[in-house]
Point group: D2
């Protein structure tokens, strides 16, 4: 199998290259970039010196699958002609995640270039949409925040044990902001600092709401989602707060046990979701495709608290993209993703 990466020069792009290089069934045969065309990949990114490719301007020749790591809008434009040529696509941008074109326009400020594809595209949160992903030619890879947040809340919502008012408070490393320069990613500004951003509404909010709604008929989350930037490079930890419905689970320690069992059952057999009983840390996912989910109950307030964490560039981007590709091509879901986390 041959794969290409469109826009390899961002952090998600190089992470795809790193992972695909070790994939047993796939050969990375082409990489494109908007800057750096004509440069050897290993010159632009010394850690990829073992990959013998030159950065090209466009995808050409025959490939089986293309990963697009372009920003929104640019990605849709690049990907549509490839789809028309019959190439399967995993799109890491936000261009095919929202099902409703008017929502897309509202949050991204431009009309969607091909609304009909919104229907066709499958939202690639692998654990929830495995079946659809298998048959899909276009997978919209989820955002980094939605991946962790949805995996944290899905079991409880599906089971109908929680109310609709909820808060997701996320803490992210800086690589999520990409390789583009900005004062908010400038070392001296970020180091020894923490702040909330996108307080008026982050673009991942409609994506989270859309997917949570699909989990249970009639469920209408009233969600406040607040992301924070913290001084580290990789990793997202999301703390999710939602009241349990009265009587939905037993009171006290017995209810906590029920909740844990519910989560363990929901994710039983999942290779990349680990339900744990102690407060998790992002470091345990560094460079690895897992999402760790820790459900607990604040017994004083009868509130479900679920903490999830993942590596935003792996399960939150490149890793999940490869997981989806594996499904699309009938490969073992874990192929190329076996690497353990780097600790410490």
């Amino acid at each position: 199998m041959k794969a290409a990466i469109v826009n390899v020069t961002g952090y998600a792009g190089v992470e795809l290259a790193r992972l695909l290089h070790r994939h047993p069934e796939v050969q990375l045969t082409q990489v494109t970039g908007r800057s750096a065309v004509g440069q050897r990949l290993g010159d632009a990114f010394p850690h990829l010196a073992d990959i013998d490719l030159v950065i090209e301007a466009e995808v050409s020749g025959s490939v089986d699958v293309v990963f697009s790591a372009l920003p929104q809008i640019a990605s849709a434009e690049a990907v549509i002609p490839l789809l028309e040529r019959g190439i399967k696509v995993v799109d890491i941008s936000a261009d095919f995640r929202l099902k409703d074109a008017s929502q897309y326009e509202q949050w991204y400020g431009v009309a969607h270039p091909r609304p009909s594809l919104l229907e066709e595209a499958v939202y690639g949160l692998t654990e929830l949409n495995r079946g659809e992903i298998r048959g899909s030619a276009l997978v919209a890879n989820p955002g980094c925040y939605p991946t962790g947040a949805i995996l944290a809340l899905a079991p409880a919502i599906r089971a109908g044990i929680v109310l609709e008012d909820m808060v997701i408070d996320s803490k992210s490393g800086v690589s999520g902001a990409g390789r583009g320069l900005s004062l908010s990613s400038h070392f001296s500004e970020v180091n020894e600092n923490v702040s909330a951003y996108s307080v008026e509404g982050h673009r991942h909010l409609p994506e989270i709401v859309q997917e949570l709604r699909r989990l249970r008929r009639g469920f209408e989350p009233r969600l406040t989602f607040l992301p924070h930037l913290i001084p580290m490079t990789r990793g997202i930890l999301s703390s999710c707060y939602v009241l349990l419905k009265d009587g939905a689970v037993a009171s006290g320690a017995a209810g906590l046990k029920e909740v844990r069992a519910l989560y363990r059952d929901f994710y039983r057999g999942e290779p990349f979701v680990r339900v744990v009983e102690e407060s998790p840390m992002t470091k345990h996912t560094l460079g690895n495709n897992s999402c760790i989910v820790f459900p607990t109950v604040d017994l004083r307030t009868n509130r479900l608290v679920v903490i999830s964490c993942l590596d935003n560039l792996v399960k939150g981007a490149a890793g999940q993209a490869i997981q989806n590709m594996n499904l699309m091509f009938g490969l073992p879901e874990t192929a190329g993703l076996e690497q353990l986390a780097l600790y410490p």
Copy 2:
């Protein structure tokens, strides 16, 4: 005026020394420490080389005020005889913060050595209890988390515009855990990492609840408080979430304006609380005694979101202690605390 610091060898202790050294009206005349007795302060802590004191075993001679930076229990034991000698005390430990001795026993695991003092002690959140602090001989300096959390929520609770279900999600630098060694403060474990801790209930929770209840008759907060450790040394940022009562403020942007006005009015004239209209960052408080408070409304869910930040060792400990001392002795409240934040 002569001041002594009991247990100067922790982070709060050395921060007190740093600040008192520049206080125009107070002379630091004595420092004690459990370890390092007999050492010159500047040998144990080179950044304090300009302070010409030897670390002693106990407070002796005449002093007007003592700051205790001992851990709980040890602090009460050290402070009681000083109070009996008529020395005013600002206690940085948790020993006199809770009014209810049974709560103290529940959260700290031992009976309180002198419950009668719990009545007498004044909770030293300066902005809320200024009058009582002025006349007090024993001020219980608030915890670092409670300071930021209570200042964030007080105006809304006092005004009666919010419901009782609330979440406080706090992110703290590591210095809050002190100078004692533990794996959870080990550099290679904390760096490039984030996690929640004390998920079953942090000791600052009862303190926050106690003070929030005092803000409005009949108000009974159902609070989930979750602290997180992030890879920086100083600073706490707390994001507070609570639904607005229906109709408590106008809907939409007008309501947001009302909320901001309410906060500005509440803290008008305060030298150390700054109400802002943009998402704040801890870096803007580094080494400085201010608490920045940013109230906003998530219009989609009618939820009040208040973000506050401060330096846990200054407004969250040593700085507020000096602010309280200034009041206790009739000095200008800002004396010794004029230093601007260190940026970047």
Copy 3:
């Protein structure tokens, strides 16, 4: 006394503002900036909210002293007319540091706009040139690296105990690279990383050589200076290596004692240079104007090793600039610079 800061919007500029705000004898009356003109200083830099000034386009009205924090070339151009109006200037840029105009052209790539001023300007390494600074109208504030490196080596060179082959290996925080955006200051690139830069020759090299040569007639240093970028915001630590002349000091421990005594004598009474007997750390200078100097001898190789450290934005820039201004105006040298280091 009235002071103005030209280009307050860089890191050295805001640090000048922070320090001058607390200076007992000087009033900061004007700040200019290339960007942000018309903005209130406290809006652009929230930590300076207490300073009630608007950023202006140019220095106007009467001021006694101007600090220029512009980049090279722009600084000379801005400063020359001010000097002609009789205003004293402390220039933080590199424009007046090199005495030889051809060296300036070689290292900065343009002809110097007013070579005659190179003669007039005094190199403001306060401890070495105190007398000349007192009478000067134009002080060229030293670079951050040269300050620490020259203070580390001056006593040994003046005393004639070392050979001319020497290595200075410096480790710097990222704020030295300024507030301008670049990939090499991008958080995700700098964090968890270390690298050497300017390997072909850093612009501070000729400045260091020039000043070391002045310390002893005929001394011609053959210096390799290599700066490294490390993942922290403030601070420079320089490790300096130079062989002792045979017989210059006693052999063994006695020689080490001689060297220490020589250094202590050289800096006796200096308020901002501290000679120590244990390996120092940058953290002990954070936000403070001191330079810590630790001389030792590698007895196995008869090599003098001197380690110095300082805060690059204080003793390495804004603090030393104020120290120089104090001298130029007959104020106490320590005025406005009494703040202790922030630890931890």
Copy 4:
């Protein structure tokens, strides 16, 4: 093939487990630990949850190779009986690195428990001692600093182009200090800080000198080696300074070209040493077994400057240990070590 790790609970131990888990020819069948005996490996170290082993007290049963990650002295004691049972050993401690038992005693403060083994053991700097390692039953895995330093200097010394006076200035992340608690690894002390340590002589010095001497008959390095601690977790960058012999290479740019060619030739075909022409960074080796070597010449002083970097836990410990094991058992040298560096 079956492998065991003795003392898996330190950072080198868990890194061995991470890497061996992905080794195509080796099965990790046993792990021991001094603490945590009886715990499941994945409970003690959640990132290793996929490895189904319980931590045992001692190596038992049949294994082909043992990696010892114990501290010195304890390691020798544990390893000697295993060798006697015919098990091959890669020892990560310092116990078999020095050939001279009196040196061992001088630097480690105790007599060596089995001096005869010092002869037998092969110093496992793979690139230099490949032949001997192949036939060895006991490989002394090099220290993290020596690996980078020796690889940086070996080509120049072997070629006879440098003098004997030399300086190695190293900057290390904190994981090199291990998982044991100490104030010098306490987050709030290390973060935003840099300092030199072991100024009187680091234990890796004799190891470096011993190996450099072996590179050329009669070569007697007079080496000053100074390690520095910087605020990151993994990575060592060493800057090595040594004067070129007069006339050893052409002057000017031609000489630089000669030096580069010499280095490229020396390491031609090496899978894990990369000679580069731009200043390297540790980040490009994160989690990967390569050592990047950048030789250059300071033309102003005729000084060879070589900068090398590596991941102290991989090429500086666990990775090189596996590289050595591969040689000892006739496996492909790169087996299990193909993972690319994690960037950013």
